[in-house]
Symmetry: C2
């Protein structure tokens, strides 16, 4: 069964090495050898990861003879962003609630300190 | 090997049924039976998907005796949004380029039409 494009993208992103490869490529194109360097991985292992990224349309290989540089293709990432965007109000609500809670906590703390100060003045 | 949280989230999202479950839960909490209805799936199959979503912290089950409603937990989605955000300039660049191209195309089309009109006038 062929996965839908978004599932293929999510699946390709579900690996820290593949995400690190994308981060590296966001700084500019690179050869497979260059990509393999920071990972202490064999070239075939890196090539395997690259194939997954290519299949998901996240990486493109150049046609320039031997070197065949890898390039980041961001279109599927834009689709991930659009998908996750529909849930923004949920995680923002969560942060809002945390914010309210912290404000409340600070207000209580201030009140307590004020009372303590007053108490000291009386003593 | 335990996957890192972001990989676990991406992996959980790499399935259209699981994404549809999250969409359904974004409208409010639901029981497993309610979740299973639109999918023509067996309850055990839906439960299996729910377990994957729970492990990724995307769904929480209530403790209310029998019913145990499922709830959306958006925190991991906020983390996906934050991760993908760093690539925004790449997919926006791409749209900008497409925009430039369309503008150029329209300008050329206008020029051509203008010339054709002039031509007609001469004839």
């Amino acid at each position: 069964m062929l996965a839908d494009p978004l599932s293929t993208t999510f699946s390709a992103l579900a690996d820290p090495t593949r995400r690190a490869i994308l981060t590296r490529l966001s700084a500019g194109e690179a050869s497979v050898t260059e990509l393999a360097e920071p990972f202490e991985m064999s070239l075939p292992a890196v090539s395997k990861h690259l194939k997954v990224l290519e299949r998901a349309g996240l990486v493109e290989r150049g046609r320039e003879a031997q070197w065949r540089p890898c390039r980041l293709k961001a279109k599927p990432l834009g689709e991930v962003a659009a998908w996750v965007e529909q849930y923004r109000r949920f995680w923002e609500q969560r942060l809002d609630r945390l914010d309210d809670y912290l404000r409340e906590l600070k207000a209580k703390e201030k009140k307590k300190r004020g009372r303590r100060k007053k108490g000291n003045e009386i003593v």
